[in-house]
């Protein structure tokens, strides 16, 4: 049925408004912090940029999983979903270690508006990645038990759309937080 993909399409559109508002809040306070931590003096764009590549790559591997589904290559589909999960977990590890580092320097959500908007925006994005990872894990589990023989599956395609969306959001978030602060 086309219904499921239409639903996930509109859902993603609705979610993007949610992120637009979080980004607007970040943008609204950009440059208002005169002393204390800011993006420019406490973030490492290179390190996070490298971890971002894992997320970008995971979008690619998810696309390959979809291709394997179409060509009914069940084994490779499972491999690509597994690769996607591993890349996603690596990204989340990068996010978590960045957070730990910041919190270690007493830069928290309650420190100032930079902390507030930074942790909220990256936190909600990270939460969405985790939800995606959960869904991918379920997908992989079902595939292990023999589901998704192809060439079509709304389950795989819808989660793939969601995963690409989460990836796309990160490109915007990274640009707004890291690139805007340093370039």
């Amino acid at each position: 049925m086309a219904n499921n993909k239409m639903l996930i399409g509109f859902f993603v559109a609705s979610e993007s408004i949610f992120f637009v508002m979080l980004i607007l809040a970040y943008v609204n306070f950009h440059g208002t912090v005169t002393d204390g931590p800011t993006a420019a003096n406490s973030l490492d764009p290179l390190r996070t940029g490298i971890f971002s590549l894992f997320l970008l790559a995971s979008s690619f591997s998810m696309w390959l999983a979809g291709r394997s589904l179409v060509s009914k290559n069940h084994f490779m589909m499972k491999i690509w979903i597994l690769v996607t999960i591993i890349l996603g977990v690596l990204f989340i590890y990068g996010q978590a270690s960045e957070w730990m580092g910041l919190i270690g320097q007493n830069i928290t959500i309650s420190r100032n508006v930079f902390g507030t908007t930074f942790f909220t925006l990256t936190g909600f994005h990270g939460f969405h990645v985790c939800v995606g990872l959960l869904m991918l894990t379920i997908l992989l589990g079902l595939a292990m038990f023999g589901d998704f023989k192809g060439p079509k599956s709304d389950g795989v395609e819808c989660i793939s759309i969601y995963w690409h969306f989460v990836d796309g959001v990160w490109i915007v978030v990274y640009s707004v937080i890291y690139l805007w602060a340093f370039f």
Partner: protein
């Protein structure tokens, strides 16, 4: 995937019945759009009575100057809970619920596109309501900060009680529910129409639900993110909306009204849909200017997201912003006026039959135009500066929300009750309900225009004994009690008619849309056979094959 067994077994008993062997379980576990629709309607009636009682407490406190019926804190809690309940737990879920019941029937479908998502939407409303009302059990009671919860009043250290936290959590649950029912409606309407039911033949009620659903999915996320930020501020000491720590209180206002203004169209567009169904049927004429009614709705939907700051003229946004938001807001009067003229033109020259639904629909036009006119007035920034936060505003939005949405809701209940239950509602009680509502409503709220112009501030628990203020407020309070009597009659009419109402035929009003083709109440599977759709009035075409609405249309 499609061959999987559903998680919840299909209900095989006819509807609606609490007496079946499955009893309550058949309702609680239901994924049937008709049962879910009825559960929406029943729960909104409960919330309506609760919200109404809160309004009565407010009016008793204001009945005479410097009265001390309740404390200022309780007064603040009452108007906060009254507004929140009526908007999020009465009007919105009613309109969504009646949509959930009727949309599949009107487009000839078996159910919504996602029945389980539909059930989730309903139960989230109940969950949200429990969260909101749970705050009565906390130490210092529910939120006292009004339905728009302006920062920094809603923040620490001004609101240290748990009320606003429960308030935001409850509304977050309702927000998720609204987005999911919006998504469900859109997919249902776009993909599940019976053959021949093109977009240009869609009943106007379905058009309105479609536009409303689009507003829901794009606007609710705005407030959901704002609620998330408010909760982070309150629970984790974030600083979004606290100016003392570098945050911005105005940002909350922008976010809130960015949602809040489109929200008023969420509350009125499906009501327009009900009116657009009722008026043609009781005027015995097809709707005048179908495409203008549908098109102007789309225009309202688009304009609605660009006018939010007319709620914020008092902030002082500067002349350019004020001029823009004034003009843009006034623009909305055009597509709205188009609709009013279409309804009047539909009635013009028709054989009007004033059954209770039509009485409410006719009164709707008059009361809503009244609210619309004051709306255009206060869209002008200078007038707004004078009237802001006075009872003029209270009168204005009660004319559009009560005189508008609620009158349409009453019209809808009387109109579709036979279809929902298989019994007619009592016309005698209906007419009592109608006239008492009209008298009580205008008595309560018309006088508040004058109180507002005289400068009586809203959200203030009492007032000084200024000339005429006491007697005008007393009149308003008496009106509120007349309204209370009308609601008792309405509730009694429902209960009485469920047991003793005349048995309803399938199509008691000689209406033309598909829901009247099936039995009253509809069978579990909705239709044995959906009649061919060859125009906007399928049942007319069926009865008059020689006088088709679209003479050249083919049966598909």
């Amino acid at each position: 995937m499609s061959t999987r067994i559903p998680l919840v077994p299909e209900n095989i008993k006819p509807l609606p019945s609490l007496k079946g062997n499955e009893g309550m379980l058949s309702w609680v576990s239901s994924v049937d759009h008709k049962q879910i629709g009825l559960m929406y309607l029943m729960s909104t009636l409960v919330f309506f009575i609760i919200g109404g009682l809160e309004a009565l407490v407010i009016r008793i406190q204001l009945a005479q100057p410097e009265f001390d019926f309740i404390s200022p804190e309780v007064y603040n809690q009452m108007f906060t809970m009254h507004g929140t309940t009526m908007i999020f737990f009465v009007v919105m879920p009613f309109l969504i619920g009646v949509g959930v019941y009727l949309v599949p029937l009107m487009i000839g479908a078996r159910d919504m596109a996602f029945p389980r998502l539909n059930a989730l939407s309903f139960w989230l409303v109940i969950f949200g309501g429990i969260l909101l009302y749970y705050s009565f059990l906390t130490q210092s009671g529910p939120s006292e900060v009004g339905w728009f919860a302006y920062a920094p009043l809603s923040e620490k250290p001004f609101s240290l009680n748990k009320g606003p936290t429960y308030w935001a959590l409850g509304l977050l649950a309702v927000g998720i529910s609204s987005v999911s029912s919006g998504l469900n409606n859109i997919v249902t309407i776009l993909t599940m129409r019976v053959k021949g039911m093109t977009m240009r033949r869609l009943p106007l009620f379905v058009w309105m639900i479609l536009v409303t659903s689009f507003i829901l999915i794009f606007v609710i996320p705005i407030i959901a993110s704002a609620f998330a930020m408010m909760l982070l501020d309150r629970l984790l000491d974030a600083t979004f909306f606290t100016p003392a720590h570098g945050g911005s209180a105005i940002l909350w206002q922008h976010f809130f009204w960015g949602f809040g203004h489109p929200e008023v169209y969420i509350l009125i567009l499906p009501a327009f849909g009900i009116i657009s169904e009722v008026i043609p049927v009781f005027s015995r004429k097809p709707i005048f200017g179908y495409s203008f009614v549908a098109g102007s709705t789309v225009a309202i939907g688009l304009l609605s997201v660009g006018v939010w700051a007319h709620h914020m003229f008092a902030v002082g946004l500067g002349n350019v912003a004020n001029a823009y938001f004034s003009l843009a807001s006034m623009l909305i009067a055009i597509p709205t006026g188009v609709k009013v003229l279409n309804w009047v033109a539909t009635m013009w020259g028709g054989k009007i039959y004033f059954a209770t639904p039509m009485l409410f629909a006719t009164a709707f036009i008059i009361e809503f135009v009244m609210g619309g006119l004051t709306g255009v007035a206060i869209a002008s920034a200078p007038i707004n500066w004078v009237t802001t936060d006075t009872y003029f505003i209270v009168a204005h939005f009660h004319y559009v929300l009560f005189g508008g949405s609620l009158f349409a809701i009453f019209a809808g209940v009387y109109y579709w009750f036979p279809k929902f239950t298989g019994r007619m509602m009592s016309e005698t009680l209906g007419k009592w309900h109608f006239w008492l509502t009209v008298v009580g409503f205008n008595m309560t709220f018309f006088i508040q225009h004058f109180l507002g112009v005289m400068g009586m501030p809203r959200r203030t628990y009492t007032y000084h004994d200024l000339p005429y203020w006491g007697s005008m407020n007393l009149l308003s309070t008496i009106g509120a009690f007349v309204l209370a009597i009308s609601v008792i009659i309405f509730a009694w009419n429902i209960i009485w008619s469920l047991k003793h109402g005349k048995k309803a035929p399938d199509n008691p009003w000689n209406a033309w849309t598909l829901e009247w083709y099936t039995t009253s109440p509809p069978a579990v599977h909705n239709f044995d056979l959906v009649p061919p759709v060859r125009g906007r009035r399928p049942l007319w075409d069926l009865a008059h094959p020689d006088q088709l609405d679209e003479p050249n249309s083919k049966v598909v």
